[in-house]
């Protein structure tokens, strides 16, 4: 148990997790920035936001992902980036979970337009994994 704790808190582990989740966020952000209107449509499909906010969300979210991803990969404010991505992963988890619960058969939109995968249990599991990565990445070293 103590060994796991030490491994998870090791600065190399944390750094690796940060770079991994950062890369994932960069890959996820770029196609959304490239095709905002398609992403806005996907946001709309989730039926979570007031319609007036959907476009605003679709315009800014990919850029927040991009900034977080850059921070993580470059190691500048990396802990903040990891905390932010953990928060975003929670939001995505909730979004997908509610879509699954409501039986919406929609594109995930997780990695932009070309990602035609539907929301579902597999997506949820993937998101939990990403959330774990982000959480480890947001830990302090040592202690």
């Amino acid at each position: 148990m103590d060994g796991i704790k030490r491994f998870v808190r090791h600065r190399v582990t944390i750094r690796v997790c940060q770079i991994a989740i950062g890369a994932i966020f960069l890959v996820a952000a770029l196609p959304k920035i490239g095709d905002v209107s398609a992403f806005a449509k996907q946001v709309h499909n989730y039926r979570m936001l007031p319609i007036a906010l959907e476009n605003l969300f679709a315009m800014t979210l990919p850029w927040i992902e991009l900034v977080a991803g850059l921070a993580l990969v470059l190691g500048i404010r990396a802990r903040a980036g990891a905390t932010l991505s953990a928060g975003l992963m929670v939001v995505f988890l909730v979004a997908i979970a509610q879509a699954v619960a409501r039986g919406l058969d929609i594109d995930c939109g997780c990695f932009g337009t070309s990602d035609a995968s539907q929301v579902g249990i597999k997506r949820l599991a993937e998101d939990v994994l990403f959330l774990a990565l982000a959480t480890v990445g947001s830990l302090r070293t040592g202690s």
């Binding site: 600065r11 750094r15 920035i33 905002v36 209107s37 806005a40 449509k41 946001v43 709309h44 499909n45 319609i51 007036a52 959907e54 476009n55 605003l56 679709a58 315009m59 800014t60 979210l61 990919p62 850029w63 927040i64 992902e65 991009l66 900034v67 977080a68 921070a71 470059l74 190691g75 500048i76 404010r77 990396a78 802990r79 903040a80 980036g81 905390t83 932010l84 928060g87 058969d105 302090r140 070293t141």
Partner: protein
């Protein structure tokens, strides 16, 4: 490694970092999409990238003689009469398909709201308001009244009112009424329809109708039919203006498609329009093939402004093989603002 480590600021520093990243991302995102903040389209997001502008459709005088548009000539000629005449289900359907009649529901409003022939106007006989009878403007078309079939007499009573008080001369009674229509699986609508500004301008015509003993003086169907400009076959959708849409609507010479989502459609739509949300087409392309426009053009509309789903649906219709597809760019808001009829409630199409 450039790992900043847990600085002396601790959690406060971390929170500030998170906020800084969010703010930076938001600012970048807004700057990148600067143009879009003013509008709030639902999801068409026309303001990102160039909005698509369709070539406007204009009546082409050269093809005016070409009998392509709705061909009311095929409809049975309804002679003038000072008595109501009976009409059977098949005849009503023919008139309905061609938009060749004004269909009037004589039942009480509650029954009308629970379900009526799509596009029918509610004129409860019990409420018997003479001004409403006079205000009714079929635009030269026959009026078909109906009630609950069987032994119901509301439609016949209303028909007499229309003749004696309203001065109408082509009044038909659909004896089978709503039950028979529904049984045949023909289009049915629920909810209430509001005939907005039904009196605007029609008062003059109504009085003319009463004065005139000469049927030719007020009833001239061939002229009304040929006034409709023909729609040529096209391999891409074109845009249509409000006035032209209204003209086709009045003549029932077009199939109207509401491309918005069902909840918006239920809140209000152009009477008789078919709800065909884009998402539904995506998941079930077969829906497109259930339309039977015949020679009539298909006019798609959505929420106006910068909404683009009507264009997307129009493209899908072209792809599905329809050749007379138009987009009413002004959409429902413009239609409603013009005071034209609006229907509420869900369309239930059986049979097809």
């Amino acid at each position: 490694m450039m790992h900043p480590g847990p600085g002396p600021g601790g959690e406060g520093n971390l929170a500030r970092g998170v906020v800084a990243l969010v703010v930076l991302g938001t600012v970048l995102g807004l700057a990148y999409n600067y143009a879009g903040l003013r509008s709030q389209p639902a999801y068409g997001v026309a303001w990102i990238g160039e909005p698509r502008v369709l070539e406007p459709w204009t009546p082409d005088p050269a093809t005016a003689a070409h009998p392509t548009a709705g061909t009311p000539a095929a409809l049975p000629e309804i002679p003038d009469s000072e008595e109501p005449r009976q009409i059977q289900t098949a005849g009503v359907k023919r008139l309905f398909d061609a938009g060749g009649a004004l269909i009037v529901d004589a039942r009480e409003p509650a029954l009308y709201e629970a379900g009526h022939i799509a596009g029918a106007v509610s004129l409860p006989y019990e409420e018997g308001t003479p001004d409403r009878v006079e205000a009714l403007d079929p635009g030269g078309r026959p009026i078909v009244t109906y009630c609950d079939g069987g032994s119901c007499e509301l439609s016949m009573n209303l028909a007499w009112d229309l003749i004696l008080e309203g001065g109408h001369r082509k009044v038909l009674v659909f004896m089978g009424g709503f039950p028979e229509w529904q049984k045949a699986g023909y289009p049915v609508e629920t909810g209430s329809a509001t005939l907005a500004s039904a009196t605007g301008g029609s008062g003059e015509r109504a009085s003319r109708r009463i004065d005139s003993n000469d049927p030719m003086g007020f009833f001239d169907p061939p002229q009304a039919a040929s006034a409709l400009p023909p729609i040529p076959e096209m391999d891409r959708p074109m845009s249509m203006e409000l006035a032209a849409v209204k003209q086709f609507y009045d003549a029932g010479a077009a199939v109207l498609i509401d491309a918005r989502e069902t909840d918006e459609f239920v809140e209000g739509h152009i009477p008789g329009a078919v709800n065909l949300p884009f998402e539904e087409i995506q998941s079930d392309p077969g829906r497109l093939l259930t339309l039977e426009p015949g020679d009539r053009p298909i006019i798609a509309y959505c929420g106006g402004g910068s909404c683009e789903v009507s264009i997307t649906v129009a493209d899908a219709l072209i792809e599905a093989g329809y050749r007379r597809v138009l987009v009413y760019v002004g959409g429902f808001p413009e239609w409603q603002a013009a005071g034209y009829p609006v229907a509420r409630g869900e369309i239930v199409t059986g049979g097809t």
